[in-house]
Every structure is written in structure tokens, then in C-alpha cells.
């Protein structure tokens, strides 16, 4: 069980999952843009956020399918060159969502696919972070998922801390909330 207040966990559950309703539901027509009534009909194909989809799935109200970020095309691309696939664009919470959805949809290959993508991208993330620690480069960041961005930042900050240690630095740190702003000198 993850932390109730965990922001990343909350956001990862907002990812949309394609579902097919097995039961009708009244008063929630908003969920189905093609519906003209205020109801969702049986057999309606729509996309729901994960937090709603998995609860309804647990009550057999709908069937879930695998979201597009785990489809064959993505898998082929990852196999070809894992590090250069833009996972952020496909799903910011690629690994988290994958871990959550794998036991639900009964697709045994998702787990190994996630592991494969992570291990193959991991090396690249770290080496990029270490070499680029002082030059401001944001380009590799645009391809990374949230998890990988954390990793990248962690590696980078340890590198900066190391370099700072070698040079020696100030004992006192100004609280980050105050920023680096100083009163302008007249």
C-alpha cells in the first residue's frame, strides 16, 4: 500500500485506460462523450482514468484493455533502441502504471517488458546525468518518465555535491524558499 498522500501515486492513477462497460450506469453520461443521454450504456467503449477503471473492474462492471503505451509498437521500439524512445510522451508513469495494471489484465509479458525497458534505459540515464552535470542540458530529460527523471536528478545532484565538496563551499545554505533574491543595491 502506497502512501495516501503520495503525489506521484495519485498522478499515476490518472492515466487513461481503454475500457468496455459490461453494465450500464445511470447519471454518469459525462464519462462517455458519445452518449446523448446522461447514462453510460452497456457495451460503451470509453477511456477512464485508472483509479475509476480498476475499482469498477474489481466489481465486474467493465473490462480493461492494455493502454497504448504497452502495445506491440512500443515494445518493438524499446527492443530496437530502448534509450531513445520517448516514454514521457506516451505515459509519464510508465513503470508505476505498468506495475499496477499487470496483475489486472492478466498479461504476463508486461512485467518482463518493464524490467527490460528499465534496465536498458537505466545505464543511459546515469551516464548522461554524470557527464552533463554542469552544463545545463534538458534534452535527455524530455524522453524520461517520472521515475527516470527522479533517478537522473538524484545522479546529477550527487555529482554536483561531489564537485562542490572537492572545491569546498559555504557552510551556511540559504533556505531554498527564500530563493537567491537579494534586495537590489541602490
Amino acid at each position: 500500500m502506497t502512501n495516501y498522500y503520495d503525489i506521484d501515486d495519485i498522478l499515476s492513477e490518472e492515466e487513461l485506460i481503454p475500457v468496455v462497460f459490461q453494465k450500464a450506469a445511470t447519471g454518469v453520461g459525462l464519462l462517455d462523450p458519445s452518449s446523448e443521454t446522461h447514462n453510460v450504456e452497456q457495451g460503451a467503449k470509453i477511456e477512464l482514468p485508472f483509479w475509476l477503471a480498476h475499482e469498477l473492474y474489481a466489481r465486474q462492471a467493465l473490462t480493461m484493455s492494455i493502454p497504448p503505451c504497452f502495445n506491440q509498437m512500443t515494445r518493438k521500439e524499446i527492443q530496437a533502441d530502448a534509450a531513445s524512445v520517448d516514454l514521457r510522451n506516451r505515459c509519464q508513469y510508465f513503470y508505476e502504471l505498468g506495475c499496477k495494471i499487470a496483475p489486472l489484465v492478466g498479461d504476463k509479458t508486461i512485467g518482463s517488458f518493464l524490467l527490460y525497458s528499465f534496465t536498458n534505459r537505466y545505464k543511459e540515464v546515469l551516464s548522461k546525468a554524470h557527464t552533463a552535470s554542469f552544463t545545463v542540458s534538458t534534452k535527455p530529460l524530455t524522453l524520461l518518465t517520472k521515475e527516470e527523471t527522479h533517478l537522473y536528478e538524484a545522479a546529477q545532484s550527487s555529482m554536483t555535491a561531489f564537485k562542490k565538496w572537492r572545491m569546498g563551499g559555504s557552510r551556511f545554505e540559504i533556505p531554498s524558499v527564500l530563493g537567491r533574491k537579494r534586495k537590489p543595491v541602490e
Binding site: 490518472e14 445511470t26 447519471g27 454518469v28 482514468p49 475509476l52 518493464l114 545522479a155 555535491a161
Partner: protein, 246 residues
């Protein structure tokens, strides 16, 4: 249909609350953004709508003579969706308030009892109250400890005195047993505990001496070690999570 019209033209359930949480996620770590009153109230309104629609569906089922607990008809699933959306919205709102409260708590340790104006503007009224209460609790705790100031630098200093340069005109201030004129750009040799407070408010800057540099290095080695261990632990946990799945 019951109350459906009210929600028309609005966002899909839980989307606004999620935007609110996203705002937190995109802010710099440890930095506060202005309290989003507008969005917050909209989410609460959405919660109320969910509640009233949930209630209407319950009433409808009861009128039809169905058992709300066991019936599994379309109304039941409608109710379920409203219920789940309500819980989701609640979680997002709670997370928003909780994360901000954490930052506000850390402020009273880092900045002291009085907030700079640019930060205070970002707080909502209850948050300002929370900050005041938290710092006065901290103050009274420190008083009970016999006047021990817990907010000072945790690393014991090599020298009780430090050399500082004044960045802004502070004026004549009581430093220990005598008054010191802290005029801008003047350099002083002050008691560390007296100066620290001003340093954190960016009114003084430390003039580095050789000794300080060395102490700093030791601290950074520690930091680096702690950090590497954390990184390793987080990596291992990710790996095991993924291994379990495969």
C-alpha cells in the same frame, strides 16, 4: 435524469482535483505556490454535486423498492461511480493540503517566526494560522528545554566566532553584551549564534576562512555517503518490484 444537467460542460470526474495535485508536482521541491483558492473551491463544488447525485440515486432505488446494498442495476453502478469520484477528489484535496502543510512546517524551522511577505502572500488564511501555531509550539518547546535554540546549525562550530559581511543596512543591533553597527558592506567578527539568524534572512554573508572549508568538506562526504546509500536502496526496491512482476 437526476441532476445530470448540472455537470454538463464540465470536466471529466476528478480531473480538476488532479490538476491541483499536478500543480504541486510541477513546483520546485520545497517551494510554495500560491494557494489555488479558485480550483480548490471548484473541486469542493464537484464533491457536493457527486454527493447530491449519489443521494438522488439512492432515493430513486428506495422508491423502486430495491435494496441499495445488494441490487446490482444501472443505478447501482451510477452510484458507485459517484462514490468513487468523491473519494478520489477527497484524496487529491487532502494531498494538496497535506503537502503544503509539510512545507509550511519546515518554514518555521528554516525561516523563523516571521514569514517574508512574498511567502506569506501565498498562504491561505488557515495556513497562516497553522504556521503561527506551529512556530509558537516550537518556541514553547524550546523554552521548556531551557531556552535551547533547536533551529541553529546542527554541526558544532570549530570557532564560536565567525567573520561576516553585511549585505543590507541593519542598523545598530545588540550583539551579545554590546551594540554593533551593522552598516552595509562592513565586515564584522561576530558570535556565530548571533549572526546565524541574519544569515538565513540573507542580510549577512559569511566570509570564508580555511577552517570552515574543511568542516564543510566533511559534511559533504557524509551527505554523499547517505545519498549513495539512499540511491542504492531505491534502485534495489525498483528492481525487486519489477522482478516480482516478471
Amino acid at each position: 435524469m437526476t441532476g445530470g444537467g448540472e455537470m454538463e460542460g464540465t470536466e471529466i470526474y476528478g480531473r480538476r482535483a488532479c490538476q491541483l495535485v499536478k500543480e504541486l508536482a510541477s513546483a520546485e521541491p520545497g517551494q510554495l505556490t500560491s494557494f489555488n483558492d479558485d480550483m480548490f473551491n471548484q473541486v469542493i463544488k464537484e464533491c457536493n454535486l457527486h454527493y447530491s447525485q449519489f443521494y438522488e440515486l439512492t432515493k430513486k432505488m428506495q422508491e423502486e423498492g430495491l435494496d441499495v446494498q445488494s441490487a446490482r442495476n444501472a443505478d447501482h453502478f451510477g452510484m458507485l461511480i459517484h462514490h468513487l469520484s468523491l473519494i478520489r477528489n477527497k484524496r487529491c484535496l487532502m494531498a494538496y493540503v497535506f503537502k503544503r502543510a509539510e512545507i509550511i512546517q519546515s518554514l518555521s524551522w528554516k525561516v523563523g517566526r516571521v514569514l517574508p511577505e512574498e511567502i506569506e502572500q501565498k498562504l491561505s488564511d488557515p495556513e497562516k494560522r497553522y504556521f503561527r501555531n506551529h512556530s509558537s509550539a516550537l518556541q514553547s518547546y524550546m523554552r521548556d528545554m531551557g531556552g535551547l535554540d533547536l533551529t541553529v546549525d546542527m554541526v558544532p562550530p570549530k570557532d564560536p566566532y565567525i567573520k561576516v559581511r553585511v549585505l543590507d543596512d541593519i542598523g545598530v543591533t545588540a550583539m551579545g553584551d554590546r551594540d554593533t553597527n551593522l552598516a552595509r558592506h562592513s565586515i564584522h567578527f561576530l558570535k556565530r549564534t548571533d549572526a546565524e539568524h541574519y544569515i538565513f534572512q540573507i542580510l549577512l554573508v559569511l566570509v570564508l576562512t580555511g577552517d570552515d572549508g574543511r568542516a564543510h568538506r566533511l559534511k559533504l562526504i557524509n551527505l554523499l555517503l547517505v545519498f549513495t546509500v539512499q540511491l542504492a536502496v531505491s534502485l534495489i526496491s525498483v528492481h525487486t518490484a519489477l522482478l516480482v512482476l516478471s
